[in-house]
């Protein structure tokens, strides 16, 4: 099941072919190295553009959200087995 988090995080990554690809993120003082980006999606909240990255890190799935208007990153959800 997915656990809602909704906390701000810090993200580092690379620009490739004109797009940003996150490679690691810091949440609650811990750094997570991203092994794979499994899905990306663009969405709108009204006129605010959001970009979602679903990433695998430490064998778990994390949903990251980038707010393109305010240039902020959030960890939205984590997949928890059980």
């Amino acid at each position: 099941m997915y656990q809602t988090i909704g906390e701000e995080i810090q993200v580092a990554g690379l620009f490739k072919k004109g797009r940003f690809w996150p490679s690691k993120f810091k949440w609650s003082g811990q750094t997570f190295n991203i092994q794979k980006i499994t899905l990306t999606a663009e969405a709108n909240n009204g006129g605010v553009k959001l970009r979602y990255y679903s990433v695998l890190a430490s064998g778990n799935l994390y949903r990251l959200q980038y707010n393109r208007q305010f240039e902020t990153w959030r960890l939205m959800e984590i997949w928890c087995e059980g």
Partner: protein, 425 residues
């Protein structure tokens, strides 16, 4: 040129078709994308529910379908069939974005693409059929590009024929991830072996009427005279089914891309429990009105027919009003929905489903605006709120009556009835 391609049928040369259409259908779209996102769910039966805590499965993964779980199954039914099924909330933003990306991908293959629903599209290959050698070459190219765009877990059926109706039948009837084509050689076979559930336009009730007169497939329609068909099915369906029995497109395909603008906008929602609380009902109706009216305004449309729908406890109530003038402002639409229509309801049952609709839409540019200063004042106010939503997000500024309670946010539907709005085409 022809040759066998797996179990899916013949491989036909595209240049043999005078007109050529491909139908692309992503397999188990909602569930497949969730499995693509989360490798822990791949290969497992997955049921997609609208939100966490919901019990109606709106989409099932390939693995769940193999165990008998289908769209519309309840959670308890699904658990009996697939005890280890995982119920995952839908991600409508992901689905809509994936459809937009697929549309761009298909447009890179052909100049004419028609999005049929969130997970289905038609590609007109008539003008570019010489670019692709045969049906298998084109089908494989599409399937490969879909995997590159959305991920390795995403599979699609590709159907190819000389019109959209047959291309869709070809796509629907092949195994998951297949490429199937129909031409004159296998047309009768396909017509005779396709179940009505796989025929676009034939619903459950029509299928029942056809079976009642001994028609089990499209091919058998040829054995009935026009008079016989008309007697049992009426003038409309007898003509449509006659066309289908010869592999011709029925009328419903003419409207896929022909709407100059939407005819109506609406929003409905099913709650978690039966509701009898007046404040809650008012809040929900207001929330639905905000989305409906805002959507109409964003498309530059206004409507003059307003309807409201409520259901629960196996009963329903519906009412509508047709106005002499056009409206699209939140306040005026809500006044009509709540005070003029809803207040007449006798409250004879507890409500679980709510719906609001604004119909008979017309572009604002073709409508005379009222001269009343109060109308213009309200319009400026709502325009300002719309602009704030554009800049800071939906519901940043909202009516005080919506401050408490859960907000109902816009979402996309599977059949994508508002595709011109969502995809901007």
């Amino acid at each position: 040129m022809k040759g066998e391609v797996g179990l899916t049928g013949l491989n036909h040369c595209l240049s043999d078709y005078k007109d050529c259409w491909a139908h692309v259908d992503i397999n188990s779209y909602f569930a497949t994308l969730i499995q693509q996102e989360n490798p822990a769910l791949r290969g497992q039966p997955v049921g997609i529910v609208k939100e966490s805590g919901r019990t109606c499965i709106i989409a099932a993964s390939k693995e769940a379908k193999l165990l008998g779980v289908s769209t519309g199954s309840r959670k308890d039914e699904a658990l009996l069939l697939a005890p280890n099924i995982r119920l995952i909330p839908a991600q409508f933003d992901f689905y809509l974005d994936a459809t937009r990306r697929l549309k761009r991908l298909f447009e890179s293959l052909s100049p004419e693409v028609q999005i049929f629903s969130l997970d289905e599209a038609f590609i007109n290959l008539t003008s570019c059929k010489y670019l692709y050698r045969d049906t298998h070459t084109f089908g494989t190219l599409v399937q490969t590009k879909i995997k590159q765009e959305l991920g390795e877990w995403v599979t699609a059926n590709v159907g190819i024929s000389w019109n959209r109706f047959l291309a869709k039948i070809a796509g629907e009837t092949g195994p998951k991830g297949s490429i199937t084509s129909i031409n004159q050689e296998n047309l009768d076979y396909k017509l005779a072996t396709t179940k009505f559930t796989d025929v676009s336009g034939v619903g459950y009730r029509l299928e029942k009427r056809l079976k009642a007169i001994g028609i089990e497939n499209l091919y058998q329609i040829k054995l009935f005279s026009n008079q016989e068909l008309e007697k049992h099915l009426g003038p409309f369906w007898s003509k449509q089914l006659r066309k289908m029995s010869f592999g011709e497109e029925p009328n419903l395909f003419e409207h896929i891309d022909s709407n100059p603008h939407m005819k109506s906008v609406g929003r409905s929602i099913t709650g978690y429990k039966l509701c009898n609380n007046e404040t809650e009902i008012k809040q929900i109706l207001y929330n639905l009105v905000l989305e409906t009216a805002s959507k109409a305004r964003s498309m530059g449309l206004a409507g003059r027919q307003i309807s409201v729908y409520l259901s629960g406890e196996g009963r329903y109530w519906f009412s509508h009003v047709t106005l002499p003038s056009y409206v699209n402002q939140n306040k005026e639409v809500f006044e009509l929905v709540y005070h003029y229509l809803y207040k007449k309801w006798q409250r004879s049952f507890l409500v679980i489903k709510f719906g609001v609709r604004l119909s008979l839409l017309k572009p604002e540019t073709q409508i005379n605006q009222p001269l009343w200063p109060t109308w213009h004042k309200q319009r400026y106010l709502e325009k300002a709120v719309d602009e704030l939503a554009q800049k800071y997000g939906l519901f940043t500024v909202r009516p005080a009556s919506l401050l408490n309670g859960q907000l109902i946010r816009p979402e996309v539907t599977g059949f994508l009835g508002d595709k011109s709005f969502q995809l901007g085409s």
